[in-house]
Amino acid sequence: MSKVYGVGIKVSVVLVALLTSAWPAAAQSQAPTALAAPTGDAQRGKVVFETTLRCFACHGYDGQTGSPRLVPMARSEDIFLAYVRKPATQGMPSFAAVSEQQLRDAYAYIRSIPQAAPAPDSVPLIKGILDRRTKAK
């Protein structure tokens, strides 16, 4: 919910537009299995993600319902840290003032989140919508 739409909407649209184009493309270029294991603590990272830094505000509680999606995370830990400290996009906040340990913990938590996206055709509601849209004239 945005109180000041003129700012809120604009910024959130920029966030969505810029981050969607900038991050996932890079993220998806690497398979998660090729990444080294995280060094941080996923349990502490959950607190950072949900409470301290509130990453969920943009990315969703599970890192998947917002934009851009963080799960599956395909960036290495070092690239992740470099990015969040000095983002390449205007919409993404800089987390340069956050401790390295907190960022490593957040990364570990993101890596621990299971992907929760069933195949669309396996969900009757989504399949029904797809069928209706396919038949729409």
Binding site: A57, G66, F95, V98
Partner: protein
């Protein structure tokens, strides 16, 4: 009041009864012994209803309304004027500055056409009128108290202004105020308080002028570009008596202007010759006719239709093959804007790359504004100052006339490419609903998809805006009728959705449509009292609270600002979060007498809750489901 009771006799009795009530105990014996008060001698001056006369009377005599039992109150005449205009409803929050009109509406006017809607805040009253006007195609009357009521109304008047939506508001005041309460409710220039964002305001100083000003106000509100209007009516005038009754003029709303024929011909020439035309719309769709006309134009040209997001009324079917921007790589060489408030960005981009822009809009007739919503100067190639809806028939005819067989085949080929690209993109967009499908809190697409499943066999209408549900609504629900979606607030200020949805639902009630509003928790908290209005007036409407427990866009904004200044991000939630304690909106609705369920945190619980709530709505009641949701 029963028809068999003579109104004047009733007034006599009521006044005598009221006189008895105000007699003090000490004077009771005298009062009983005193002879009945002589009948009031009504003024016979033909200008008795003039404000100056009323003022003079009020300074030298006891206000006549306190004992008036005979004659015709001026506010009864006002009701006749309002009835002639044809208002179905009047949304009010009561106040003494329009007590005369209020009494006339409920007794003389028998509380029908207009029927009073009791609102618990003036902003809610005007926002209800805003939503109603877009769904009904005509204004609702609003009546508010002098200064205080108008100031409470001001935000919603601003939204109606920015959304180009007609609202007719009457505000009372005292021309000759006395006492510490009345004086602050009066103003030298009442309209000044909101003049920056109303299209017209006037003060009626006598009944003849009231009749003309009311007709004029309605006419101006409904003439494109439409907008809210304010009519100030002094309490002294309302409570004066009619002698020589003025004639009530006919309501004449002018036909909206059509585009000049040569300019329309040139627009058609550019569009027919274009390889990649694009149609953009915003405040198009004063009437349902625009829906069919736009489809006809788009299909004749096989041109994609871009509905331009949040500020648009979005009057084009969302699953139509031409709904969209043409697909990846489609670069428009001619962009036609229909009632697009600000085309400056399109015009600048087009001029930089030798492309063309056309604007057909009543916006070109705007006289000026203190608000910058009209945008930057747009140096389009062809500007037609006209109502786009009224111009569409001649534009379509001209386009048809100019299409040669050779162009026709090129146009058809384009249409096939565009339709294929749109379909693929829209199916991909629907598939994205899978992310977080079983997540708790509930994802926005799940919230909408479950709703769509439950209302698939209803004639439904979404009466809230969609800023905070993104474009999921149009992705997952087929907006195949002009009333499926009622547009957003216009002015990008929060607090519109909840009350405007009640107004929209009221308009749909008589057509038997099932109204649904998806409102944010932030929005609901601005005027929750409108839930009571919906319950009290039995306005069927399903509220779904998209309860993400924060102003989440602002969380992101402050996070970004924290990052820019390098001072840590852990405080970004302060001032933005609506939690601890977590408001319970289902309990709030229950307190206002509305059926409700929630908070619902797991998507598996949605279907049952919707089912039970929709049963109430289909039976004619409002209901509310509080869904704890993902931020966006």
């Amino acid at each position: 009041m029963a028809d068999s009771i003579d109104r004047r006799d009733f007034f006599k009795g009521a006044a005598l009864g009221a006189a008895g009530l105000v007699v003090t105990a000490e004077k009771a014996a005298d009062a009983v012994a005193a002879p009945a008060a002589p009948p009031v001698t009504l003024p016979t001056d033909p200008h008795v209803h003039d404000l100056a006369y009323a003022q003079a009377q009020s300074t030298v005599t006891t206000p006549p309304t306190r004992v008036t039992t005979q004659g015709r109150p001026a506010s009864d005449f006002m009701v006749d004027v309002l009835k002639k205009i044809g208002f179905e409803y009047a949304a009010i929050n009561p106040g003494s500055t329009f007590q005369g009109l209020h009494e006339s509406l409920i007794n003389y006017g028998k509380n029908t056409a207009p029927e009073l809607l009791t609102c618990l805040h003036e902003e809610a009253a005007v926002a209800m009128a805003h939503g109603y006007a877009k769904a009904a195609g005509k204004p609702m009357l609003v009546a508010v108290h002098g200064t205080v009521g108008l100031l409470h109304s001001s935000m919603a008047l601003f939204q109606a202004w920015a959304d180009r939506v007609p609202v007719v508001l009457i505000v009372g005041h005292h021309r000759n105020p006395s006492g510490v309460i009345n004086r602050p409710h009066s103003a030298q220039d009442m309209g000044l308080l909101v003049r920056s964002f109303v299209k017209f305001d006037d003060e009626a100083t006598n009944l003849e002028r009231f009749a003309e000003a009311a007709m004029r106000a309605y006419k101006i509100a409904m003439t494109p570009p439409m907008g809210p209007v304010v009519l100030t009516v002094a309490a002294e005038l309302q409570e004066s008596m009619v002698t020589n009754e003025p004639r009530i003029p006919e309501l004449v709303v002018p036909a909206p202007p059509q585009g000049e024929s040569a300019a329309v011909r040139e627009a058609a020439r550019l569009l027919v010759a274009s390889e990649n035309p694009l149609i953009q719309i915003a405040k198009l769709g004063r009437t349902p006719k625009a829906w069919d006309l736009l489809i006809e134009l788009a299909e004749t040209l096989q041109a994609p239709v871009d509905t331009l997001g949040y500020s648009s009324w979005q009057k084009f079917p969302s699953w139509h093959p031409l709904y969209g921007t043409g697909g990846r790589g489609y670069t428009p060489d001619v962009t036609l804007g229909l009632e697009v408030t600000d085309m400056s960005a399109q015009a600048r981009a087009a001029r930089a790359s030798n492309r063309k822009t056309i604007s057909i809009s009543a916006e070109h007739l705007f006289q000026g504004s203190n608000i910058h919503d009209y945008g930057r100067y747009a140096d389009v190639d062809l500007a037609i100052a006209a109502d786009a809806e009224a111009t569409l028939p001649s534009l379509i005819e001209e386009v048809r006339r100019q299409i040669t067989p050779a162009r026709k085949s090129a146009i058809e080929a384009r249409g096939q490419r565009v339709a294929a690209a749109h379909k693929a993109g829209q199916l991909d967009g629907i598939r994205e609903a899978k992310y977080g499908w079983d997540a708790s809190p509930v994802s926005v697409p799940r919230l909408i998809a479950e709703l769509g499943d439950q209302i698939a066999k209803d004639d439904w209408a979404i009466v809230s805006g969609h800023q905070f549900t993104g474009d999921w609504q149009r992705r997952l629900l087929n907006h195949d009728k002009p009333y499926r979606y009622n547009g957003d607030c216009g002015g990008f200020g929060i607090g519109y959705d909840t009350p405007a949805s009640v107004g929209g639902a009221l308009a749909h009630k008589k057509n038997g449509r099932l109204s649904v509003a998806i409102v944010g928790d932030g929005d609901l908290n601005y005027s929750p009292g409108v839930l009571w209005t919906a319950a009290h007036h039995k306005i069927p409407l399903l509220f779904i609270v998209h309860n993400n427990r924060a102003y989440h866009a602002e969380v992101m904004i402050i996070q970004r600002m924290c990052g820019v200044r390098g001072r840590g991000n852990e405080n970004a939630h302060i001032g933005n979060v609506i939690a601890d304690p977590d408001p319970n909106y289902a309990q709030l609705a229950k307190a206002y007498g509305m059926y409700s369920e929630g908070p619902i945190e797991h998507p598996k619980d949605l279907a049952g809750a919707y089912q039970r709530a929709l049963a109430k709505v289909r039976a004619g009641e409002p209901a509310l489901i509080d869904v704890v949701s993902q931020p966006r």
